[in-house]
Symmetry: C2
């Protein structure tokens, strides 16, 4: 793990900074003493406060069952230097391998959920499943982020965005249009 | 408008290429002869085929009513050179201005919906509202993309990703990990 700033509490009402630009994330879960990790690209912000996030988690995945039963998970934000690990996590199934051990990832205790944080990730969002009504029809899980942790710097880490066909877009530069925005509209 | 490749039909089952990396999009709608445009950052892929997209459209917005009533819209993908226009669209309301005229955007006829395409955008996804059951609770619209158009090149246009506070991330380079992916897992 590269030397990095220690994580701090991060306001759950501001997690759009990490999720809205559409990065691939790693979702960690726990059930009956076992843990698992999956890659996830289909997610979106649904509300600022309470901080709601909608996620599609395929029924065929081991994580689907673990999260449906435990009603908890952690959404972890990997950085571009972790791209090869992200691919390995997506290539394997938790029914066959312990992904933390197999891919050299560190499980750290969360504060409000039993699922582990992935220490190597830039940010960790502890989630509770608050609405499972659309799980059967769409595999749509609606989570509330109940606690967030993030490294205070860099403010905008290099993130990984999937485009299909094995190709990732890596986040580029950031440009402020703040002065052009109507103040109430940021 | 810069010189650009003419658009072609694009397979709806492959629209993840445009939406999954999380770009800001422009949503165009039509009702009773009037049109409107809004910016949208809260959206996600929900299914490949039929191509389903979930979107959060705030109840306070003029587009919310127009799309709920017309049950149609077009999701348009703006490129980085359009960032200032995207901000202007987000700053204004369709109850006060004709956004196509005010911001120099060209409305082109869609094939399967009455909402117009925004000609200047790289891709246009014609959408029908197929599930409004979560609109009241979450402002969540579930659309099916019934027709897609895209410029054949560049394959990966520079896109704009919102991070809050007036700051956009502009998409960076693309890197293929195709050889590392398990074939069934792309």
């Amino acid at each position: 793990m590269p030397r990095a700033a220690a994580k701090k509490d991060f306001p759950t009402a501001e997690i759009r900074r990490f999720l809205e630009p559409g990065p691939i994330v790693l979702v960690s879960s726990a059930l009956n003493g076992a843990t698992n990790i999956m890659t996830m690209g289909w997610h979106m912000m649904m509300e600022f406060e309470p901080a709601l996030v909608g996620c599609i988690i395929a029924p065929a995945s081991h994580s689907h069952d673990m999260i449906r039963k435990s009603r908890e998970c952690v959404i972890n934000l990997p950085t571009a230097d972790m791209a090869a690990t992200v691919v390995r996590v997506g290539n394997s199934t938790g029914t066959e391998v312990d992904k933390f051990a197999a891919f050299g990832l560190t499980a750290a205790p969360a504060e409000k959920v039993s699922a582990p944080l992935i220490a190597e990730c830039h940010a960790n969002l502890e989630c509770r499943l608050v609405d499972a009504s659309q799980v059967r029809k769409y595999a749509l899980f609606i989570f509330e982020v109940v606690k967030a942790h993030a490294r205070p710097r860099p403010k905008y880490p290099a993130t990984i965005h999937y485009t299909g066909e094995g190709v990732f877009m890596i986040s580029g530069g950031h440009k402020s249009f703040r002065r052009q925005f109507r103040p109430g509209n940021l």
